[in-house]
């Protein structure tokens, strides 16, 4: 199991070449930088995210970048560098939590739905398709509106509203794999052995249907960051005193832009762009490696026309 896992982790490096490898490496480096910032935020960030004074001295209001405050300060006297670093932590918390929720809810639902079939399956598929058909950002707004009323503007509330829009994807993938996997002989063999439905789902189907979930998680992460920032920008996410959130900071920076205060908006925005780029590169790189159909589809349009027109490809091969 462990060796297989390590082998799987090393696969992107051993089996990629050219662009895909560089995409993956660049993505991993970018993402890793943000993960390090997020995990070690208390040590990396010079100040707290809601800290407006240090050693008894108040920070300047909307001070430009300088030796004390590398990225400057904003109108609430907060240090922009610190907020950007702490923002990475918020983003990571929300994304990890929402993926965990998605897996914890979507995978079992998909398993049960696919395994039992019948009316339960129909209803669940209908509900999930309905959710999926909805514009996801609109749905996220509705959910975070409801949930922030219920749970306050906390990380959990935002994570849950992201969960709500991403669950259908996990549900579908798991449900469809289950539908095909449950016809396998080993499932019937388990039933012939006297295994109950619960045992069959846990010990026989689970391990064989969750394999596509990690890739799905990586691909969703980038999207989740954007949705989170969007929610924050609309003021529906996390309050600035609860945690540092890039989208929310961008919202407040909107007013600054007119008065030439560029640093409050640039750095959180840059952070969003970099992290989303990093995650997308990782996801795409992984997909290029792990998903042979995608790889082939990507290569075909590049190679085929040359072959049809001339014999250059043949020469190149030699």
């Amino acid at each position: 199991m462990m060796r297989g896992l390590l082998g799987g982790l090393a696969k992107p490096f051993t089996q990629t070449a050219g662009l895909a490898r560089w995409m993956l490496v660049a993505g991993l480096v970018l993402t890793a930088a943000f993960v390090v910032m997020a995990v070690f935020a208390p040590w990396v960030a010079p100040y707290g995210f809601a800290q407006s004074a240090a050693d008894g001295a108040r920070f300047p209001k909307a001070g430009p970048p300088g030796a004390d405050h590398w990225f400057g300060t904003d109108r609430l006297f907060f240090d922009v560098l610190s907020r950007t670093i702490w923002g990475a932590r918020t983003a990571l918390e929300v994304v990890v939590l929402s993926i965990l929720f998605c897996v914890a809810i979507g995978v079992p639902l998909g398993l049960i739905s696919g395994y039992h079939g019948g009316w339960l399956d129909r209803i669940l598929v209908l509900v999930m398709d309905a959710v999926f058909a909805f514009p996801s950002f609109l749905l996220a707004i509705v959910f975070s509106f409801l949930l922030t009323n219920l749970l306050g503007g906390s990380v959990i509330a935002v994570a849950l509203s992201l969960t709500a829009i991403y669950i259908p994807q996990y549900f579908r993938v798991v449900r469809n794999t289950t539908v095909s996997a449950k016809e396998a002989t080993y499932v019937e063999a388990a039933r012939a052995m006297g295994a109950s439905d619960g045992v069959i789902m846990r010990r026989y189907l689970f391990g064989n249907v969750v394999q596509s979930v990690p890739v799905l998680g990586t691909l969703n992460a980038a999207d989740a960051i954007l949705t989170l920032a969007g929610l924050g920008f609309l003021g529906l996410g996390i309050q600035s005193t609860d945690a540092a959130e890039w989208g929310h900071d961008l919202n407040r920076a909107l007013a600054d832009a007119g008065s030439g205060i560029w640093w409050t908006g640039l750095f959180p925005g840059l952070a969003i762009v970099l992290l989303v780029t990093g995650l997308t590169l990782v996801g795409e790189g992984l997909n290029e490696t792990l998903n042979p159909t995608l790889r082939r589809r990507r290569l075909l349009p590049v190679v085929m026309p040359a072959r049809a027109e001339t014999t250059i490809t043949g020469e190149e091969q030699q």
């Binding site: 396998a184 002989t185 080993y186 019937e188 063999a189 388990a190 039933r191 012939a192 052995m193 006297g194 295994a195 109950s196 045992v199 010990r203 026989y204 391990g207 064989n208």
Partner: protein, 427 residues
Amino acid sequence: MPTKPEPQAWQDPLIDVRDLSVHFELRGGILARLFGSDTGTVKAVDGVTLTVGRGEVVGLVGESGSGKSTLGRALLGLVPATDGSILFHGDDVAEMSRRRLRAIRRDIQMVFQDPNAALNPAMTVEEATGDALRVHGMKSAAERRARVVEALEKVGLSPVELFLSKYPRDLSGGQKQRVVLARAIILDPEVLVADEPISMLDMSVRAKILQLMLDLKQELGLTYVYITHDLASAKYFCDRIAIMYLGRVVEIGPTDEIFANPRHPYTRALLKAIPEPDPERALPRDLLRGEIPDAASPPLGCSFHPRCPEAFEKCGWESRDLRAVIEEHWTRQPADVYGAESDTVGDLAHLDTPATVARIGGKGAESAREILHRMRSERPDEPFWRGVDRVDDDGPGIRVVFHPGEDPALRSSDGVEVACLLYPESS
């Protein structure tokens, strides 16, 4: 002639199947499903009565689609019985709740055809084998391991330590089938239903696995229901053989008797189909014509009659046979003759509705009669003609009337039971 249904086998019936039927509803197209119209049923098992004695090896032999696997699965309650009963220890498996069924599967286990598919790819040999114990409530991993080691030794996977942590993909087909066997015997069952356990294995491994199964039977006192399409292996393995055709048992008796003196024409055809390894001795074989019919609408009368070389009047001839005969006749005709004849005979699609009266032709009775006559003189010994009672004129065409058919029930004939009208029912 010695009849040898082993006496102790009959005295101590372990499984008693009575009139078992397993029918599957066909789902049909979207319209049929919307309006809930009848889309027909497939009678996978249709009124089978079978007794399996303790310590006996009963073979279920038949072509694909004969219902032998479904019957085997029904014994474990893996497919629900539509009708009839399966008595095991006096309890009816067909009526049991899911919970009782799970418990009964301690005593009836199954070995599957494809060892590559029967093992969970995500489980090691130890987990796969021991899971049967875990399912039945053995919590302690150490205890399970001891039993697993014991079972693996019994099936000849040694040194056991080498195999415990392997995944199915690391094993050969024969080794996988041994693991499947180990998983089946680890609960100490009484009955093992083996569904073509050797058909997916290499020739060199088959005999070894069969021998292993025989050894296990000796050692553990097992009773086998051996499902196969391969009469040769059944001869080697079984005490009694039940030949199945289209969901029914058409002949059942002691193995020696079935081989020495096959009664049912289908059994005879199957025996002829066993390959002869020596090409010098290979006889010209008249193999069965056609394929096994659609179980959703089986032939009238004896369901084997369309393929039977010895069929006669009472076998249940019907309109679909007429279509088959006409179409077969056309395969031997040049294109212009075919064109002319098919023009005379008209559309044959309506013949697919089974009936003992068939109307054909539309351009004069005489021309249609002529075609029938030509066909008959071309193949006078075609059994189909025995079933035609008379041919009447019917407006612009003709009416072919068949002899009324009879559906043969199992009847005993010198130590075996056979479902064929050639053997008169004796009281």
